[in-house]
Each structure stands twice: as C-alpha cells, then as structure tokens.
Subunit: 173 residues, 2 copies
DNA sequence: ATTTGATATCTTAGTAACTAAGAGAATTAG
DNA sequence: CTAATTCTCTTAGTTACTAAGATATCAAAT
C-alpha cells in the first residue's frame, strides 16, 4: 500500500465519495419533504421560489419540467397549506405570480437547520485558501454538470420504441 | 469591493454553488431516467444494485424507503424491461435476490458518459494535492450529511396533525 | 373596432406508481 | 409439532402526473 494515492485511485475515490454524498443529500431532501408532509415536487417549487422570489406558474413549469396542469396542482396544495400566495399580475392579467408566505415557509426552513449546522461544522475544518479552492471546484462542477446536461441531448441517436419527449429542465436562472 | 473575499462571503457563495450544482445533478438524473424511459425510483434501484451487487427485495425497500409492495412493482418493471433478474435464494427460499443483467444495464450506463466526461474535464484542472483536498472534503461532506440526517430526527417535537411515519432512508452500506 | 393569433393558466379524463393492510409461503424458536 | 416470525407478493384505494383542450387575456393587423 503506497502512502500517497495514485491520481487514478484519487479520481475513483473522489467519484465514489461525491456520488455517495450527493445521494445522501437527495435523501435528506426526501426526508424533509416527508416530515413537512408535502410532496417532493412541492418542495422543489418552494426551493425555486426562495431562489428566484416571485415567479409565474409558467416559469415554475419550465424550471421543474412539469406540465402547467401539474403546476396548478402543486400551487393548489402549497396555497391550501399556506406556504404560498397566488397574485394575478395587474399589467397582464393572464399571468399568475406565486410568492412565498415567509412566516409560514420558515416552518419548513427549520428542517434545514441540521443540514446547515453540519455544513458549517464541516467548513470550519478548512481555512480560507482551502475554501477558495472548494468554491472554485463547486463552480467548475456546476458548469460541468450543465455541459453534461447539454451533451446528454447528443447521446440520443436511435430512438427506442417509446421515448419520452425529452422535455429537459433548464438550469435555474 | 475587496480583492480577497471575506470568509463569510466565501461560505455564502460556497453554499449557493453547492446547492446549484447538486440541484443540477438531480436534474441530470431525472433527464437520464426520462430518456431511458424508466421511472426515477427504478433508476435509483439500479444505482443501488450497481453499488451493492446482488440484493434482496427487502433490502431495496429498506434503502429506498419504499414499501415492499412498491418494490415488487419496481422489480416487475425492471425485470420486464430486461435490466434485472429475480433469483430465489436457495438456502432461504422466502428471499428473492435481484441482480443486474449487465449487458442490458450498460445501455443505461451510456447515458452517464457525458457526465463522466464532464467530471473528468473538471478534475483535469486540479493537481494531485488539490484532488486530495477535494476528496477529504467530499468525505467530510458525506459524514456531515449523515449527521444532519440523524439530527433531523431530533427536530420533531410538536407533531403536526398529519405526519408521515418518518420512515427515513438509511445510508447505503 | 374587430378579427386573428398567440400566450398563460386551469380543467378534465385517464394513467402510473405509491401506501396500507394483509395473504401466502418458508423459516426459526419454543 | 406448533406458534411466531420473516420475506415477498397481492389487493384496494389514493395521489400526482400527463395530454388535450377550455377559458381568458393580450397583441397585432387591418
């Protein structure tokens, strides 16, 4: 056993570690949705609302990849539960803006406290220079995943019998 | 604007970048499932099968958080599509082992090629020492998410009206 | 002003995948 | 040998989704 790992070993371990932690992250999100008693799509929409602020129903459909009909259902549930409000746009009365009811939404936010605490603890183990490297990596990684998502469209050559329409979700923003 | 970011700014940006890239990663997985024409739960089970090899139906239920009934459906679909095989355990004939049909499963694997390529490209921009830091971080991060998942159970004090039974998914392995 | 076409959301009907509960078969404990 | 336990599957009912189209509004052309 060599004391310093070969680059190949490093890359393998890195891939596995990334895969594991991201899988576990997904599970955390599922657990939060379960506890909060709302569907995962609903939670995803809440996330988007927090990131983007006030968005239209159509934009939610676009970003989540759901149909507008499905979004109607999502917003119905969230509105009934008090997490969001529908507001018709005054200048274009076809549009419906969805906005977060902050006080109510904070009830969900508290389920993310354990995650934030854990992450702060982790980040506490790194100095500023190391954090800069991690930030660079996170940004590079994001760009990489975007590229991969784009390249994925190119993999489709021989459409099998029943193929979904491949309505791919655009990245947020 | 200071040339070097404050630690606070770094942490904020890091959180956002991580969130973004992990969200986009989830979307990539959804896109692959769509293209392959199988449900996301089915895809998740395939992932587990690749990681763990031969697993029982019950283990799949445990790890995915689905009921055993749901797993029956998942395996039915995957088996029908030729991705997996059911094999009764000879020593305990109640058990059903699920195993991947490798040749067929490779058809799915090819949808991950763009992602692997993108990640290799990203990792190419880092030297061994930097990769070691990233590996350390990925492992710390995994541990952090596990802790957070555990701590999440503690957040439940005042059970609201209708609360899911909080059947939380255990980490893989 | 009216018509035509485009846009934004919602409605309806049908489908797929889930849960809860329990049945059936095999195993283990007393 | 019987009873309790374990493991998967079945059944009935629910939920959230899609596809298609209805409804309402806006924008453009004449």
């Amino acid at each position: 056993m060599s004391r310093t790992k070969s680059r190949e070993t490093l890359l393998q371990e890195l891939e596995e570690a990334m895969r594991r932690s991201s899988a576990q992250g997904v599970m955390y999100g599922q657990a939060v949705a379960n506890i909060a008693g709302i569907a995962q799509s609903d939670m995803e929409c809440m996330d988007i609302l927090f990131l983007e602020g006030r968005v239209t129903a159509g934009r939610l459909a676009e970003v989540t990849g759901l149909t507008t009909g499905a979004i109607t259902g999502v917003v119905d549930r969230l509105e009934k539960a008090g997490y969001v409000r529908r507001e018709r746009d005054a200048s274009d009365r076809r549009k419906v803006f969805i906005s977060v009811v902050v006080e109510k939404a904070e009830e969900i936010g508290k389920f993310y406290v354990p995650m934030q605490a854990a992450m702060q603890k982790v980040w506490g183990g790194y100095n500023d220079e190391e954090l800069r490297l991690l930030l660079r990596f996170a940004n590079d990684g994001y760009k990489g995943v975007l590229e991969a998502t784009e390249a994925l469209k190119g993999v489709i050559e021989t459409p099998p019998a029943k193929r979904a329409s491949l309505k791919m979700k655009p990245p947020i923003r």
